[in-house]
């Protein structure tokens, strides 16, 4: 059974996330960790916005916090978000990766080491190539790789880049994404 889902989104991300997070039940059996590319500002409304529209709890990922199921964690702006092997969050201000911070690659690469085959990586809409390398590492350690169908993405570059270099498990159109993740537990039971 999987323990955590990582979602990487860039341009068009808010709309994409609206198709997934509000559909998840409050007792969702996995942890969901979201990296949305955005500039670093003091006022960050992404968490509040998603929390107001969702049954599942949405919060900012805190330094040292123990990652638990049934919660959506959003990586703060201005920091990379990483996962330690003891399944807690850490942050860094290492240089941008793929010109961005937070970077999806940074989250996914550390998540692959921490969760190995218990992690699902999802790449969605965006205008750069961030996340592809991270998704490849998720696969390398036995995790699942999912990509939004680029035809349904506001910007197709990021999901297409992932499809180009990773042997992905599922390519899913945006309108089916929420129901896919809601029913995910049936896929994990093997």
């Amino acid at each position: 059974m999987y323990e955590a889902i990582g979602i990487g989104v860039s341009a068009g991300g808010i709309n994409a996330l609206k198709h997934i997070i509000p559909i998840l039940p409050h007792d969702y059996p996995l942890a969901v960790i979201v990296i949305q590319h955005r500039i670093h500002t003091a006022e960050d409304f992404l968490v509040e916005f998603l929390n107001n529209h969702s049954a599942i709890r949405v919060k900012e990922a805190q330094l040292g916090e123990v990652i638990k199921p049934g919660c959506v964690y959003i990586g703060p702006s201005g920091y990379h978000l990483l996962i330690e092997r003891n399944k807690t969050f850490s942050l860094s201000i290492d240089p941008p990766v793929n010109y961005v911070m937070p970077s999806v690659d940074v989250l996914f690469e550390s998540a692959a080491l921490a969760y190995q085959d218990k992690f699902i990586g999802l790449i969605m809409t965006g205008a750069n190539h961030d996340g592809s390398k991270g998704l490849a590492k998720v696969k390398k350690y036995g995790g699942m790789a999912i990509v939004q169908d680029p035809a349904t993405a506001e910007v197709a570059v990021m999901p297409q880049a992932a499809i180009d270099i990773v042997k992905v498990d599922y390519i899913i159109p945006l309108h089916e994404m929420g129901i896919f993740f809601k029913n995910l537990k049936f896929i994990g039971e093997t």
Partner: protein, 276 residues
Amino acid sequence: MKQNEIQNFEIEQLLEAILFRYGYDFRNYARASLERRVEERLALSSLECVSEMLPKILYDQEFFDLFLKDMSVTVTDMFRDPQVYLKIRETLFTHLRTYSRINIWHAGCATGEEVYSMAIMLEEEDLLKRTRIYATDYNNHSLEIAKKGIYPANKIKQYTSNYLSAGGKASFADYYQAKYESAKIKESLKRNITFANHNLVKDQVFAEMHLIMCRNVLIYFDRKLQDRVLSIFKESLIHRGFLVLGEKENLNFSCVKEAFETFAHKERVYRRANYV
């Protein structure tokens, strides 16, 4: 055995080797970002696995120097989080002003951007001439950059905007000389700054401070090392002295929680509590 467990063992060995050979102790650094840096160094040096770094670390000082340089690269800005600087200028300075001599410690100053931001604010509030700023870092590569005070010119636009949001009273252009692709910090700002090597992992308190700035340093340490560092700050601060942490850091789970009160939560300003 799983590959990530093998790599974990290799990294433990690597950190022991670095400690044994050069005296730098990275064992209590947050592991995920350190591991990422090690993996990047592997790729850059075309090595297959962490174990291949071991002989290089032990026998090749230049290779260790490269590693140390990798570790020194972080990203910060002048007046990063302008609202924090605005808070310092508008409220902390009122308290600092009551002292005839002011000591400020930038612990883990990295490449110095935030040190010069502080110096500019002190200058504008007419406090710089009675202030001594101690800017310390364990990494000599970072300190060299900090001392020079030369930053890429393409960051000036961002810095200027930050400076204004932080309550800047003059023109940011007064504080640097632009030359080709770079901007050099004005020499007069450096007069009251002492740059020095100090390693938070093993060194001790060296002076009494009125204000300690340590932003986005604790994020790189594990809980144990965070507690060590915070204890040093507690000892170093004068009665009712101030501590400013990074915006995602806090004292909630630390061993010094009781010794501080929250002065400004959002800006992560803490103050030594009254002795009981």
